[in-house]
């Protein structure tokens, strides 16, 4: 452990649903609930692997991914994605976000590895939210991959009989501004 590089006293950790958690830097190894501080420990042993010990309970944890300030954490079997921001980067982010229009390109990705059985749409097809677009076979089950939005198909990336990995891009849709979210 070395000394802090800069005089950052606070960090903001944002969840993918924009929940904000703030932490002091250097980081306290406790979390305050009401009037009490509860000690948090990151530990590891042969039987459990890596875990967090909090209030006498062990929670399994893994760091699934980290890239720059972005962390995907698996905590008690649930994935969370966070971005950690310093007060400076937080300010910059706010500036950048103002006036920026939200892209209405929607990417349909493979939810699981498998084989494409059928592609039910073509480029230019109009689709409705919930409409099946691709049939993906995984673990002997045929799964309908449905459109996440109303809109128009702009790109079809996969073909019948091709194999896909989890998170592979299948189809791109330009969503209508109406009727979504």
């Amino acid at each position: 452990m070395g000394k802090p590089k800069t005089e950052i006293k606070k960090l903001y950790t944002l969840s993918s649903e924009n929940k904000r958690f703030s932490f002091t830097q250097p980081l306290k190894h406790s979390i305050r609930i009401g009037q009490r501080d509860y000690e948090v420990k990151l530990k590891s042993d042969e039987k459990h692997g890596t875990y967090i010990l909090w209030k006498n309970r062990k929670y399994p944890v893994e760091i699934v991914r980290s890239r720059q300030n972005r962390y995907e954490i698996l905590f008690n079997d649930i994935s969370y994605t966070f971005t950690v921001e310093t007060p400076f980067s937080m300010k910059r982010m706010k500036v950048l976000n103002t006036g920026k229009e939200k892209s209405n390109k929607v990417e349909l990705k493979a939810p699981m590895p498998g084989k494409i059985i059928d592609v039910l749409v073509r480029e230019g097809s109009s689709v409705l939210r919930g409409e099946p677009l691709v049939i993906l076979e995984a673990m002997k089950m045929q799964n309908e991959i449905q459109s996440p939005a109303n809109g128009k198909v702009t790109r079809v990336v996969v073909k019948s009989n091709s194999n896909v990995m989890k998170d592979d891009l299948l189809i791109e849709i330009l969503s209508d501004q109406t009727g979504n979210r």
Binding site: M1, G2, K3, P4, K5, T6, I8, L11, T13, S15, K19, F21, F23, Q25, P26, L27, I31, I33, V40, L42, S44, K47, H48, G49, T50, I52, W54, Y59, P60, V61, E62, I63, V64, R65, S66, N69, Y71, I73, F75, N76, D77, I78, S79, Y80, F82, V84, P111, M112, P113, I117, D118, L120, I135, A138, M139, K140, M141, Q142, N143, K166
Partner: protein, 501 residues
């Protein structure tokens, strides 16, 4: 004939389950070692392991009838237990075994055939006066014919594979314009899964409960039922949680439905363990759906409340013993719940998450039973099902069983794959689950969130992300990942991270 050696034509937890009972009965077991999982747990438990790793045929051995019969003969097995899935409901396999003088631990090939073909099963049920959803007279040849039947019985309808099961080849059609597409999907899926594209159409019962009855029959024609299992918690026809008994049945309905289940079993001279599945609508009308001519995944909940070992009964019946349990002897004691802990990502629509189980620790206790085919270090392979373990908990009543399940869920420790645990943690806290009013539509219609986390868990995860950020970015000696000295990270995690770069 006394069975002395059983070839287990299966793998995973059911192979382990069969071995346990065989041991108790002092019967030897033979397991088949495949190149796909040469270190599987069940292999370490069997008395004899047949090495099939050199097998270069295209068909997986557990689906290869000739090969299995050959292995049975080579290993001197006098009986074969098919488990569930694979060839468990293949009449030809059962016939082949008996042709070679090997006892098939299950019903007769004739019963398997008649109940396995859903169109024939429907006709038999109809002739026996079993209540059923209205539907097509037989198989349907094309989408026009399907549309005509649907027009007559009224939408919504369900298309089902004649040789189907487990939700494959099954599609609900709500509007006439969906018929063509759904018919083709169902038929294609049926052909792929069962080598038989034939489908039939029946009236779709909206929001039913899935109630199934456990049957036991001997070769002399004595048949009893062991009460019901409630299997309405399912997603895309895949069961996730089962319980026995069902909160929807009282003694009178139990007895009526149980008698109907026995009646259909009698119609095909059924022996061995079997399951008669019904749909129960909100007015408590019940409809025969199908009969499964094998041991079910969820059989432990029945065992927990009746004290009857179903595998033992299957073996005794197969060797020609008369059923010693009479209907009056069957007493349902307490309440049992089974959670199927699968390697699935609940946050990604239950997508399979195969991988190596790095750490595994399972609860135990007087009212807890865990059936599993894996141990720490085992892998969940994409080519098989995603089951890690079945957690079965018994309570004195339903409330007690739910309470104990909630505690037991927090004692399961699995690392290496995401699991369905967060789903069950949510379920045991859900009011509709707790009051018992849920139906098969529960997961799709009544749930906003598929998992549970306590309010502090996300905060703790955020704390960890922050800790990592500081270590990687704000400390003098920090480098992106300290591969050499990292003590806090498991090799699994390291691998996952390395893959990112």
């Amino acid at each position: 004939m006394k069975i002395k050696r059983i070839l287990i034509a299966n793998r995973g937890e059911i192979a382990v389950r069969i071995i346990k009972t065989a041991r108790k009965m002092k019967i030897e077991t033979v397991a088949v070692k495949t190149s796909v999982e040469p270190n599987a747990l069940f292999l370490t438990m069997a008395d004899i392991v047949f090495d099939n790793t050199e097998d270069s045929t295209d068909i997986p051995v557990f689906l290869n009838i000739e090969r299995l019969v050959d292995i049975a003969l080579k290993t001197g097995s006098d009986a074969v237990h098919p488990g569930y899935g694979f060839l468990a409901e293949n009449a030809y396999f059962a016939q082949k075994c008996s042709d070679n003088g090997i006892v098939f631990i299950g019903p007769s090939p004739d019963s398997i055939y008649k109940m396995g073909n859903k169109t024939i099963a429907r006709k038999i049920a109809l002739a026996s006066g079993i209540p059923m959803a209205t539907g097509s007279q037989g198989n349907i040849g094309n989408e026009e014919e399907a549309a005509a039947v649907a027009e007559k019985i009224g939408y919504p309808v369900i298309i089902k594979a004649a040789s189907g099961g487990g939700g494959r080849g099954m599609r609900i059609v709500r509007r006439p314009d969906e018929m063509e597409k759904m018919f083709l999907i169902a038929s294609k899926e049926a052909e792929k899964a069962f080598n038989d594209p034939s489908v039939f159409v029946e009236k779709y019962i909206e929001n039913p409960k899935h109630i199934e009855f456990q049957i036991l029959g001997d070769q002399e024609g004595n048949i009893i039922h062991l009460g019901e299992r409630e299997c309405s918690i399912q997603r895309k026809h895949q069961k996730l949680l089962e319980e026995a008994p069902s909160p929807a049945l009282d003694n009178e309905l139990r007895s009526t439905m149980g008698q109907m289940a026995i009646k259909i079993a009698q119609a095909v001279r059924y022996y061995s363990a079997g399951t008669v599945e019904f749909l129960l609508d909100s007015e408590k009308n019940f409809y025969f759906m199908e009969m499964n001519t094998r041991i079910q995944v969820e059989h432990p909940v029945t065992e927990m409340i009746t004290g009857i070992d179903l595998i033992e009964q299957q073996i005794r019946i197969a060797s020609g013993e008369k059923l010693k349990i009479r209907q009056d002897d069957v007493k349902l004691k307490g309440w049992a719940i089974e959670c199927r802990i699968n390697a699935e990502d609940v946050q990604a629509g239950f997508a399979p998450d195969p991988g190596k189980i790095e750490k595994l620790s399972l609860p135990c206790g007087a009212n807890i039973r865990v059936d599993t085919g894996v141990e720490a270090g085992s892998s969940i392979i994409a080519s098989y099902d995603s089951m890690i373990a079945k957690l079965i908990v018994r309570g004195k009543d339903r409330k007690d069983a739910i309470r104990k399940t909630k505690l037991a869920l927090d004692k399961v420790w699995i690392k290496g794959s995401k699991t369905t645990l967060p789903f069950f943690r949510m379920l045991v806290r859900n009011t509709k689950f707790i009051d018992g009013s849920f139906t098969t539509a529960f997961i799709e219609k009544d749930l906003e969130k598929y998992y549970y986390n306590s309010e502090y868990e996300e905060m703790l995860a955020a704390w960890l992300a922050t800790k990592l950020f500081i270590e990687e970015n704000l400390l003098d000696n920090s480098i992106p990942v300290d591969f050499e000295n990292s003590k806090d990270m498991s090799p699994w995690l390291m691998n996952k991270r390395i893959n990112q770069f």
